[in-house]
Protein backbone atom coordinates (compact mmCIF):
# COMPACT_ATOMS: atom_id res chain seq x y z
CA UNK A 1 0.00 0.00 0.00
CA UNK A 2 2.84 2.37 0.91
CA UNK A 3 4.57 1.58 -2.37
CA UNK A 4 1.38 2.40 -4.23
CA UNK A 5 1.19 5.76 -2.44
CA UNK A 6 4.81 6.56 -3.35
CA UNK A 7 4.06 5.60 -6.94
CA UNK A 8 1.11 8.03 -7.10
CA UNK A 9 3.17 10.83 -5.52
CA UNK A 10 5.94 10.33 -8.07
CA UNK A 11 3.47 10.21 -10.94
CA UNK A 12 1.91 13.45 -9.66
CA UNK A 13 5.36 15.07 -9.45
CA UNK A 14 6.18 13.96 -12.97
CA UNK A 15 2.94 15.32 -14.38
CA UNK A 16 3.32 18.63 -12.48
CA UNK A 17 6.88 19.05 -13.66
CA UNK A 18 5.85 18.34 -17.24
CA UNK A 19 3.11 20.93 -16.96
CA UNK A 20 5.57 23.48 -15.55
CA UNK A 21 7.92 22.81 -18.45
CA UNK A 22 5.06 23.29 -20.91
CA UNK A 23 4.14 26.60 -19.19
CA UNK A 24 7.70 27.78 -19.60
CA UNK A 25 7.64 26.92 -23.31
CA UNK A 26 4.25 28.60 -23.75
CA UNK A 27 5.47 31.80 -22.03
CA UNK A 28 8.43 31.94 -24.43
CA UNK A 29 6.02 31.41 -27.31
CA UNK A 30 3.89 34.25 -25.95
CA UNK A 31 6.87 36.63 -25.88
CA UNK A 32 7.80 35.53 -29.39
CA UNK A 33 4.25 36.19 -30.58
CA UNK A 34 4.21 39.70 -29.10
CA UNK A 35 7.57 40.65 -30.57
CA UNK A 36 6.96 39.21 -34.01
CA UNK A 37 3.47 40.68 -34.32
CA UNK A 38 4.79 43.86 -35.98
CA UNK A 39 6.51 41.91 -38.74
CA UNK A 40 3.80 39.38 -39.59
CA UNK A 41 3.22 39.14 -43.33
CA UNK A 42 5.75 41.86 -44.05
CA UNK A 43 7.69 41.94 -47.30
CA UNK A 44 11.44 42.05 -46.58
CA UNK A 45 12.92 41.36 -50.00
CA UNK A 46 13.21 44.96 -51.21
CA UNK A 47 14.87 46.05 -47.95
CA UNK A 48 17.41 43.22 -48.19
CA UNK A 49 18.08 44.03 -51.87
CA UNK A 50 18.74 47.64 -50.82
CA UNK A 51 21.14 46.34 -48.17
CA UNK A 52 22.99 44.30 -50.83
CA UNK A 53 23.16 47.39 -53.08
CA UNK A 54 24.64 49.49 -50.27
CA UNK A 55 27.24 46.86 -49.44
CA UNK A 56 28.23 46.54 -53.10
CA UNK A 57 28.73 50.32 -53.30
CA UNK A 58 31.02 50.12 -50.24
CA UNK A 59 32.88 47.22 -51.88
CA UNK A 60 33.36 49.30 -55.07
CA UNK A 61 31.77 46.49 -57.06
CA UNK A 62 31.56 47.12 -60.79
CA UNK A 63 28.48 44.96 -61.27
CA UNK A 64 24.92 44.65 -60.05
CA UNK A 65 23.96 41.75 -57.83
CA UNK A 66 20.29 40.85 -57.87
CA UNK A 67 19.73 37.49 -56.21
CA UNK A 68 16.30 35.99 -55.91
CA UNK A 69 15.21 36.54 -52.32
CA UNK A 70 13.01 33.97 -50.71
CA UNK A 71 11.45 33.54 -47.29
CA UNK A 72 11.50 29.99 -45.96
CA UNK A 73 9.90 28.41 -42.90
CA UNK A 74 11.59 28.75 -39.53
CA UNK A 75 13.45 25.73 -38.18
CA UNK A 76 11.75 23.70 -35.45
CA UNK A 77 14.08 22.62 -32.64
CA UNK A 78 12.63 20.87 -29.58
CA UNK A 79 9.16 22.19 -30.36
CA UNK A 80 10.34 25.80 -30.71
CA UNK A 81 10.84 27.86 -33.85
CA UNK A 82 14.19 29.44 -34.65
CA UNK A 83 15.47 31.67 -37.46
CA UNK A 84 17.33 29.82 -40.19
CA UNK A 85 19.08 30.45 -43.50
CA UNK A 86 20.62 28.23 -46.16
CA UNK A 87 23.43 28.60 -48.69
CA UNK A 88 23.51 26.08 -51.51
CA UNK A 89 24.33 25.66 -55.17
CA UNK A 90 21.97 24.83 -58.00
CA UNK A 91 23.16 23.87 -61.50
CA UNK A 92 26.59 25.19 -60.62
CA UNK A 93 25.15 28.52 -59.45
CA UNK A 94 25.04 29.93 -55.97
CA UNK A 95 21.90 29.31 -53.95
CA UNK A 96 21.24 31.08 -50.67
CA UNK A 97 18.21 29.58 -49.03
Amino acid sequence: MNQLFVLFVLLFLGLTASASSENHVSSIANIHKKLSSNHEGKEFTSAVQSLIDRVLVRANATFQFHPILEIIDMAEVDGQLYDVFEIDSLNGKIVFR
Binding site: T16, S18, H24
Partner: protein
Protein backbone atom coordinates in the same frame (compact mmCIF):
# COMPACT_ATOMS: atom_id res chain seq x y z
CA UNK B 1 11.61 40.49 -60.02
CA UNK B 2 12.05 39.96 -56.32
CA UNK B 3 8.37 40.44 -55.72
CA UNK B 4 7.51 38.00 -58.49
CA UNK B 5 9.59 35.28 -56.91
CA UNK B 6 9.16 36.07 -53.25
CA UNK B 7 6.89 33.06 -52.69
CA UNK B 8 7.72 30.44 -50.09
CA UNK B 9 8.77 27.69 -52.54
CA UNK B 10 10.78 27.98 -55.76
CA UNK B 11 8.45 27.44 -58.70
CA UNK B 12 9.02 25.89 -62.13
CA UNK B 13 8.74 29.35 -63.66
CA UNK B 14 11.45 30.58 -61.34
CA UNK B 15 13.78 27.77 -62.41
CA UNK B 16 12.99 28.48 -66.07
CA UNK B 17 13.87 32.17 -65.68
CA UNK B 18 16.94 31.16 -63.76
CA UNK B 19 18.12 28.99 -66.64
CA UNK B 20 17.30 31.66 -69.25
CA UNK B 21 19.06 34.48 -67.40
CA UNK B 22 21.89 32.86 -65.51
CA UNK B 23 24.02 36.01 -65.30
CA UNK B 24 21.46 38.53 -64.14
CA UNK B 25 19.94 36.09 -61.67
CA UNK B 26 22.98 34.63 -60.10
CA UNK B 27 21.63 33.28 -56.88
CA UNK B 28 18.81 32.69 -54.50
CA UNK B 29 18.89 34.21 -51.05
CA UNK B 30 16.56 32.60 -48.55
CA UNK B 31 15.94 33.00 -44.88
CA UNK B 32 13.08 32.77 -42.42
CA UNK B 33 12.74 36.60 -42.24
CA UNK B 34 14.51 39.84 -43.13
CA UNK B 35 17.23 39.42 -40.53
CA UNK B 36 17.92 35.79 -41.54
CA UNK B 37 18.06 36.79 -45.22
CA UNK B 38 20.50 39.59 -44.46
CA UNK B 39 22.60 37.30 -42.27
CA UNK B 40 22.77 34.81 -45.15
CA UNK B 41 24.27 37.54 -47.31
CA UNK B 42 26.64 38.57 -44.50
CA UNK B 43 27.68 34.94 -44.02
CA UNK B 44 28.35 34.60 -47.74
CA UNK B 45 30.46 37.76 -47.74
CA UNK B 46 32.51 36.61 -44.76
CA UNK B 47 33.01 32.92 -45.52
CA UNK B 48 32.83 32.71 -49.31
CA UNK B 49 34.25 35.99 -50.62
CA UNK B 50 36.49 36.45 -47.54
CA UNK B 51 35.43 40.05 -47.06
CA UNK B 52 35.02 41.49 -43.61
CA UNK B 53 33.01 44.26 -42.06
CA UNK B 54 33.20 45.71 -38.59
CA UNK B 55 32.23 48.71 -36.50
CA UNK B 56 33.53 51.97 -37.88
CA UNK B 57 36.17 52.18 -35.15
CA UNK B 58 36.65 48.45 -34.85
CA UNK B 59 38.43 47.79 -38.12
CA UNK B 60 35.92 49.11 -40.63
CA UNK B 61 35.18 47.30 -43.85
CA UNK B 62 37.65 45.13 -45.74
CA UNK B 63 36.42 44.41 -49.26
CA UNK B 64 39.80 43.83 -50.98
CA UNK B 65 38.95 40.22 -51.79
CA UNK B 66 35.50 41.03 -53.18
CA UNK B 67 35.21 39.59 -56.75
CA UNK B 68 35.78 42.09 -59.55
CA UNK B 69 33.21 40.40 -61.80
CA UNK B 70 29.88 38.71 -61.24
CA UNK B 71 31.14 35.44 -62.77
CA UNK B 72 33.88 35.27 -60.13
CA UNK B 73 31.44 35.08 -57.24
CA UNK B 74 32.31 31.81 -55.44
CA UNK B 75 29.82 28.94 -55.62
CA UNK B 76 29.38 26.82 -52.47
CA UNK B 77 30.49 23.19 -52.87
CA UNK B 78 27.66 21.86 -50.72
CA UNK B 79 24.50 23.04 -49.07
CA UNK B 80 24.96 24.95 -45.85
CA UNK B 81 22.03 25.39 -43.48
CA UNK B 82 22.47 27.46 -40.34
CA UNK B 83 19.91 27.63 -37.57
CA UNK B 84 20.25 30.49 -35.10
CA UNK B 85 21.04 29.37 -31.56
CA UNK B 86 18.72 31.85 -29.87
CA UNK B 87 15.46 33.62 -30.59
CA UNK B 88 16.79 37.06 -29.79
CA UNK B 89 20.26 38.47 -30.52
CA UNK B 90 20.43 41.66 -28.44
CA UNK B 91 22.88 44.49 -29.19
CA UNK B 92 24.14 47.52 -27.26
CA UNK B 93 24.86 48.40 -23.68
CA UNK B 94 22.77 51.42 -22.68
CA UNK B 95 26.07 53.29 -22.26
CA UNK B 96 26.85 52.76 -25.96
CA UNK B 97 24.42 55.57 -26.72
CA UNK B 98 26.93 57.95 -25.11
CA UNK B 99 30.19 56.05 -25.63
CA UNK B 100 29.75 55.65 -29.38
CA UNK B 101 26.52 57.08 -30.76
CA UNK B 102 26.28 60.61 -29.35
CA UNK B 103 27.70 62.21 -32.50
CA UNK B 104 26.85 59.71 -35.22
CA UNK B 105 25.20 60.81 -38.43
CA UNK B 106 22.59 58.92 -40.43
CA UNK B 107 25.28 57.66 -42.83
CA UNK B 108 27.20 56.14 -39.92
CA UNK B 109 24.02 54.74 -38.45
CA UNK B 110 23.12 53.21 -41.79
CA UNK B 111 26.44 51.35 -41.99
CA UNK B 112 26.07 50.26 -38.39
CA UNK B 113 22.58 48.89 -38.93
CA UNK B 114 23.83 47.00 -41.99
CA UNK B 115 26.59 45.48 -39.86
CA UNK B 116 24.03 44.54 -37.18
CA UNK B 117 21.63 42.82 -39.52
CA UNK B 118 24.36 40.99 -41.47
CA UNK B 119 25.67 39.76 -38.11
CA UNK B 120 22.30 38.32 -37.12
CA UNK B 121 21.28 40.95 -34.55
CA UNK B 122 17.50 41.29 -34.32
CA UNK B 123 17.00 43.11 -30.99
CA UNK B 124 18.96 46.40 -30.99
CA UNK B 125 18.61 49.21 -28.48
CA UNK B 126 16.98 52.35 -29.95
CA UNK B 127 17.84 55.24 -27.62
CA UNK B 128 18.51 58.00 -30.16
CA UNK B 129 16.53 61.23 -29.98
CA UNK B 130 14.68 60.35 -26.78
CA UNK B 131 15.46 63.76 -25.25
CA UNK B 132 12.78 65.24 -27.51
CA UNK B 133 10.26 62.99 -25.82
CA UNK B 134 11.57 63.79 -22.32
CA UNK B 135 11.56 67.52 -23.03
CA UNK B 136 7.99 67.51 -24.30
CA UNK B 137 6.94 65.27 -21.39
CA UNK B 138 8.39 67.50 -18.67
CA UNK B 139 7.06 70.62 -20.35
CA UNK B 140 3.61 69.06 -20.25
CA UNK B 141 4.04 68.63 -16.48
CA UNK B 142 5.01 72.32 -16.15
CA UNK B 143 8.81 72.07 -15.89
CA UNK B 144 10.46 75.31 -17.06
CA UNK B 145 13.35 75.75 -19.51
CA UNK B 146 15.66 76.50 -16.58
CA UNK B 147 14.46 73.35 -14.86
CA UNK B 148 15.35 71.32 -17.94
CA UNK B 149 18.78 72.92 -18.11
CA UNK B 150 19.44 71.61 -14.61
CA UNK B 151 18.19 68.18 -15.67
CA UNK B 152 19.79 67.28 -19.02
CA UNK B 153 23.53 66.66 -19.25
CA UNK B 154 25.71 67.20 -22.31
CA UNK B 155 25.21 64.71 -25.19
CA UNK B 156 28.13 62.43 -24.31
CA UNK B 157 26.85 61.97 -20.73
CA UNK B 158 23.14 61.50 -21.33
CA UNK B 159 23.31 57.80 -20.57
CA UNK B 160 24.16 58.41 -16.92
CA UNK B 161 21.59 61.18 -16.64
CA UNK B 162 18.96 58.77 -17.95
CA UNK B 163 19.99 56.25 -15.28
CA UNK B 164 19.84 58.74 -12.37
CA UNK B 165 23.60 59.00 -11.78
CA UNK B 166 24.32 62.59 -12.83
CA UNK B 167 22.47 65.71 -13.95
CA UNK B 168 23.39 68.94 -15.75
CA UNK B 169 27.01 67.79 -16.14
CA UNK B 170 28.60 69.13 -19.34
CA UNK B 171 25.22 70.67 -19.98
CA UNK B 172 22.86 72.25 -20.51
CA UNK B 173 21.82 70.23 -23.52
CA UNK B 174 22.35 73.13 -25.87
CA UNK B 175 20.52 73.90 -29.04
CA UNK B 176 23.98 73.99 -30.66
CA UNK B 177 24.33 70.26 -30.15
CA UNK B 178 20.90 69.72 -31.58
CA UNK B 179 21.80 72.06 -34.44
CA UNK B 180 25.00 70.09 -35.18
CA UNK B 181 23.08 66.85 -35.26
CA UNK B 182 20.52 68.41 -37.55
CA UNK B 183 23.03 69.98 -39.95
CA UNK B 184 24.98 66.75 -40.27
CA UNK B 185 21.91 64.65 -40.79
CA UNK B 186 20.32 67.00 -43.32
CA UNK B 187 22.75 66.98 -46.30
CA UNK B 188 23.62 63.30 -45.98
CA UNK B 189 20.01 62.25 -45.96
CA UNK B 190 19.02 64.69 -48.67
CA UNK B 191 21.59 63.58 -51.23
CA UNK B 192 21.98 59.92 -50.35
CA UNK B 193 20.57 57.69 -53.07
CA UNK B 194 19.72 54.86 -50.73
CA UNK B 195 17.60 57.08 -48.52
CA UNK B 196 16.02 59.07 -51.34
CA UNK B 197 12.28 59.28 -51.03
CA UNK B 198 9.62 61.63 -52.18
CA UNK B 199 8.06 61.61 -48.74
CA UNK B 200 11.34 62.61 -47.16
CA UNK B 201 11.81 65.58 -49.50
CA UNK B 202 8.23 66.58 -48.93
CA UNK B 203 8.92 66.67 -45.21
CA UNK B 204 12.07 68.74 -45.81
CA UNK B 205 10.12 71.26 -47.86
CA UNK B 206 7.46 71.36 -45.22
CA UNK B 207 10.05 72.07 -42.56
CA UNK B 208 11.78 74.73 -44.64
CA UNK B 209 8.49 76.47 -45.32
CA UNK B 210 7.64 76.16 -41.65
CA UNK B 211 10.96 77.80 -40.85
CA UNK B 212 10.40 80.80 -43.12
CA UNK B 213 6.77 81.25 -42.17
CA UNK B 214 7.63 81.60 -38.52
CA UNK B 215 10.76 83.64 -39.08
CA UNK B 216 9.14 86.89 -38.04
CA UNK B 217 7.64 85.60 -34.82
CA UNK B 218 10.55 84.00 -33.04
CA UNK B 219 13.75 82.99 -34.78
CA UNK B 220 15.14 80.97 -31.89
CA UNK B 221 11.96 79.10 -31.06
CA UNK B 222 11.36 78.26 -34.71
CA UNK B 223 14.93 77.13 -35.21
CA UNK B 224 14.77 74.87 -32.17
CA UNK B 225 11.57 73.26 -33.43
CA UNK B 226 13.05 72.88 -36.89
CA UNK B 227 16.17 71.19 -35.57
CA UNK B 228 14.20 69.09 -33.08
CA UNK B 229 12.30 67.69 -36.02
CA UNK B 230 15.61 66.51 -37.49
CA UNK B 231 16.64 64.74 -34.31
CA UNK B 232 13.31 63.00 -34.37
CA UNK B 233 13.97 62.40 -38.06
CA UNK B 234 17.21 60.58 -37.25
CA UNK B 235 15.48 58.31 -34.76
CA UNK B 236 12.55 57.87 -37.16
CA UNK B 237 15.00 56.83 -39.88
CA UNK B 238 16.68 54.35 -37.55
CA UNK B 239 13.37 52.86 -36.43
CA UNK B 240 12.14 52.75 -39.99
CA UNK B 241 15.25 50.85 -41.14
CA UNK B 242 14.96 48.41 -38.22
CA UNK B 243 11.37 47.79 -39.20
CA UNK B 244 12.14 47.33 -42.92
CA UNK B 245 14.70 44.64 -42.11
CA UNK B 246 12.55 42.85 -39.53
CA UNK B 247 14.49 43.94 -36.45
CA UNK B 248 12.80 44.63 -33.11
CA UNK B 249 14.00 47.86 -31.48
CA UNK B 250 14.17 48.22 -27.69
CA UNK B 251 12.89 51.69 -26.82
CA UNK B 252 13.29 53.66 -23.60
CA UNK B 253 10.70 53.79 -20.84
CA UNK B 254 10.32 55.74 -17.59
CA UNK B 255 12.51 54.61 -14.70
CA UNK B 256 11.72 57.28 -12.11
CA UNK B 257 14.31 60.03 -12.79
CA UNK B 258 12.65 63.45 -12.64
CA UNK B 259 13.82 67.08 -12.88
CA UNK B 260 14.31 68.91 -9.57
CA UNK B 261 11.37 71.22 -10.30
CA UNK B 262 8.95 68.31 -10.05
CA UNK B 263 9.37 68.54 -6.26
CA UNK B 264 7.88 72.03 -6.30
CA UNK B 265 5.27 71.21 -8.92
CA UNK B 266 4.10 68.08 -7.09
CA UNK B 267 4.83 68.68 -3.38
CA UNK B 268 2.90 65.61 -2.26
CA UNK B 269 4.79 63.26 -4.59
CA UNK B 270 7.33 60.95 -2.99
CA UNK B 271 10.48 62.35 -4.63
CA UNK B 272 13.78 61.63 -2.93
CA UNK B 273 17.41 62.56 -3.64
CA UNK B 274 19.75 59.73 -4.43
CA UNK B 275 23.26 59.56 -2.94
CA UNK B 276 26.16 61.12 -4.85
CA UNK B 277 27.49 58.98 -7.70
CA UNK B 278 31.21 58.41 -8.23
CA UNK B 279 32.22 61.50 -6.20
CA UNK B 280 30.68 63.95 -8.65
CA UNK B 281 30.13 67.46 -7.16
CA UNK B 282 26.69 67.83 -5.61
CA UNK B 283 25.37 70.15 -8.31
CA UNK B 284 25.97 67.42 -10.89
CA UNK B 285 24.71 64.39 -8.99
CA UNK B 286 22.25 63.47 -6.17
CA UNK B 287 19.54 62.98 -8.78
CA UNK B 288 15.85 63.29 -7.99
CA UNK B 289 13.93 60.05 -8.07
CA UNK B 290 10.19 59.55 -7.98
CA UNK B 291 9.33 56.53 -5.87
CA UNK B 292 7.86 53.83 -8.04
CA UNK B 293 5.19 53.27 -5.39
CA UNK B 294 3.89 56.83 -5.92
CA UNK B 295 0.70 56.97 -8.06
CA UNK B 296 2.36 59.65 -10.24
CA UNK B 297 4.90 57.06 -11.41
CA UNK B 298 2.45 55.11 -13.55
CA UNK B 299 0.95 58.35 -14.86
CA UNK B 300 4.36 59.65 -16.05
CA UNK B 301 5.46 56.27 -17.39
CA UNK B 302 2.29 55.91 -19.43
CA UNK B 303 2.49 59.49 -20.70
CA UNK B 304 6.12 59.01 -21.78
CA UNK B 305 5.42 55.92 -23.87
CA UNK B 306 2.31 57.46 -25.43
CA UNK B 307 4.29 60.56 -26.33
CA UNK B 308 7.02 58.38 -27.80
CA UNK B 309 4.45 56.58 -29.96
CA UNK B 310 3.01 59.89 -31.15
CA UNK B 311 6.44 61.33 -32.07
CA UNK B 312 8.04 58.27 -33.67
CA UNK B 313 4.92 56.50 -34.93
CA UNK B 314 4.01 52.83 -35.10
CA UNK B 315 7.65 51.73 -35.42
CA UNK B 316 8.17 52.84 -31.81
CA UNK B 317 5.53 50.38 -30.61
CA UNK B 318 7.82 47.37 -30.65
CA UNK B 319 6.35 46.02 -27.36
CA UNK B 320 9.77 45.82 -25.70
CA UNK B 321 11.10 48.64 -23.52
CA UNK B 322 14.18 49.30 -21.43
CA UNK B 323 14.11 50.86 -17.96
CA UNK B 324 17.07 50.56 -15.58
CA UNK B 325 15.81 51.59 -12.18
CA UNK B 326 18.71 51.19 -9.78
CA UNK B 327 21.83 51.50 -11.90
CA UNK B 328 24.67 51.88 -9.37
CA UNK B 329 22.09 53.32 -6.96
CA UNK B 330 20.60 51.33 -4.12
CA UNK B 331 16.86 51.14 -3.43
CA UNK B 332 15.53 52.78 -0.24
CA UNK B 333 15.17 49.42 1.48
CA UNK B 334 15.84 45.74 0.85
CA UNK B 335 12.35 44.83 2.03
CA UNK B 336 11.15 42.20 -0.50
CA UNK B 337 7.64 43.68 -0.62
CA UNK B 338 9.07 47.12 -1.50
CA UNK B 339 11.29 45.65 -4.23
CA UNK B 340 8.36 43.69 -5.64
CA UNK B 341 6.03 46.71 -5.63
CA UNK B 342 8.78 48.82 -7.17
CA UNK B 343 9.26 46.58 -10.19
CA UNK B 344 5.50 46.06 -10.49
CA UNK B 345 5.01 49.83 -10.81
CA UNK B 346 7.58 50.08 -13.61
CA UNK B 347 5.93 47.25 -15.49
CA UNK B 348 2.43 48.58 -14.84
CA UNK B 349 3.43 51.96 -16.27
CA UNK B 350 4.50 50.16 -19.45
CA UNK B 351 1.37 48.05 -19.85
CA UNK B 352 -0.77 51.12 -19.16
CA UNK B 353 0.43 52.41 -22.54
CA UNK B 354 1.03 49.10 -24.31
CA UNK B 355 -0.81 46.03 -23.06
CA UNK B 356 1.74 43.76 -24.78
CA UNK B 357 4.74 45.46 -23.18
CA UNK B 358 7.82 43.45 -22.27
CA UNK B 359 10.37 44.97 -19.90
CA UNK B 360 14.04 44.43 -20.69
CA UNK B 361 16.65 45.60 -18.21
CA UNK B 362 20.38 45.31 -17.69
CA UNK B 363 21.69 42.87 -15.11
CA UNK B 364 24.60 45.14 -14.26
CA UNK B 365 23.14 46.39 -10.95
CA UNK B 366 22.97 42.84 -9.59
CA UNK B 367 26.67 42.37 -10.35
CA UNK B 368 27.81 45.84 -9.27
CA UNK B 369 26.27 45.70 -5.79
CA UNK B 370 26.03 41.98 -4.96
CA UNK B 371 25.98 42.60 -1.20
CA UNK B 372 22.56 44.25 -1.61
CA UNK B 373 21.24 42.19 -4.51
CA UNK B 374 21.15 38.81 -2.85
CA UNK B 375 19.28 35.94 -4.47
CA UNK B 376 16.25 36.74 -2.33
CA UNK B 377 16.34 40.43 -3.28
CA UNK B 378 16.67 39.60 -6.98
CA UNK B 379 13.85 37.06 -6.72
CA UNK B 380 11.64 39.64 -5.01
CA UNK B 381 12.43 42.25 -7.67
CA UNK B 382 11.96 39.97 -10.67
CA UNK B 383 9.70 37.30 -9.22
CA UNK B 384 6.33 38.80 -9.99
CA UNK B 385 6.46 38.43 -13.69
CA UNK B 386 9.76 36.83 -14.52
CA UNK B 387 11.31 33.54 -13.53
CA UNK B 388 14.85 33.96 -12.22
CA UNK B 389 17.61 31.85 -13.68
CA UNK B 390 17.84 29.73 -10.53
CA UNK B 391 14.15 28.87 -10.69
CA UNK B 392 14.53 27.95 -14.31
CA UNK B 393 17.35 25.51 -13.66
CA UNK B 394 15.53 24.13 -10.60
CA UNK B 395 12.46 23.47 -12.70
CA UNK B 396 14.63 21.78 -15.32
CA UNK B 397 16.16 19.51 -12.65
CA UNK B 398 12.74 18.65 -11.24
CA UNK B 399 11.50 17.82 -14.72
CA UNK B 400 14.52 15.64 -15.38
CA UNK B 401 14.40 13.61 -12.16
CA UNK B 402 10.63 13.32 -12.04
CA UNK B 403 10.51 12.11 -15.63
CA UNK B 404 13.37 9.67 -15.00
CA UNK B 405 11.58 8.25 -11.95
CA UNK B 406 8.27 8.03 -13.78
CA UNK B 407 9.93 6.20 -16.65
CA UNK B 408 11.75 3.79 -14.30
CA UNK B 409 8.52 3.00 -12.44
CA UNK B 410 6.60 2.50 -15.65
CA UNK B 411 9.24 0.06 -16.91
CA UNK B 412 9.23 -1.71 -13.51
CA UNK B 413 5.43 -1.99 -13.60
CA UNK B 414 5.49 -3.38 -17.13
CA UNK B 415 8.15 -5.89 -16.14
CA UNK B 416 6.13 -6.87 -13.06
CA UNK B 417 3.00 -7.29 -15.15
CA UNK B 418 4.94 -9.43 -17.61
CA UNK B 419 6.34 -11.54 -14.74
CA UNK B 420 2.91 -12.04 -13.17
CA UNK B 421 1.41 -12.91 -16.54
CA UNK B 422 4.22 -15.36 -17.36
CA UNK B 423 4.03 -17.03 -13.97
CA UNK B 424 0.25 -17.25 -14.19
CA UNK B 425 0.46 -18.73 -17.66
CA UNK B 426 3.13 -21.21 -16.59
CA UNK B 427 1.08 -22.19 -13.58
CA UNK B 428 -1.96 -22.69 -15.79
CA UNK B 429 0.00 -24.77 -18.31
CA UNK B 430 1.60 -26.93 -15.64
CA UNK B 431 -1.66 -27.38 -13.82
CA UNK B 432 -3.31 -28.53 -17.04
CA UNK B 433 -0.49 -30.85 -18.06
CA UNK B 434 -1.46 -33.88 -15.84
CA UNK B 435 -4.88 -33.90 -17.39
CA UNK B 436 -3.29 -34.82 -20.75
CA UNK B 437 -1.79 -37.91 -19.14
Amino acid sequence: MEKLFSGRKPSLLLLLVFLLFPVSILSFLSGSNGVALSTAFGHYLRYYTFCDFHWENGGGNSFDSFPRHLSLMPVPASKERITFLSHYRYYQNTCTASYSYAWKTWKQWEEDIDWMVMSGINLPLAFTGQEIVWKKLWESYGVSEEGLQQYFTGPAFLTWQRMANIRAFAGPLSENWILTQGMVVFPVRFFSDSSFSFLYHLRCLHLISFFFCHFSSSLLCCFCRFISSYLAELQSSILSRYSELGMIPVLPAFNGVVPEEMQTLFPSANITRLPAWNEFPQEYTNDYMLSSTDPLFIDIGKAFLELQFSIFGENAKSHIYNADTFNENLPETSDPSYLASSSTAVYNSMIAADSDAIWVMQGWMFVYQPYFWTDDAIAAYLGLFLCCIHCYFCSLMIVFFARALTLTLTVALLFLSYLVFSLGLSFLVFSLLPSFH
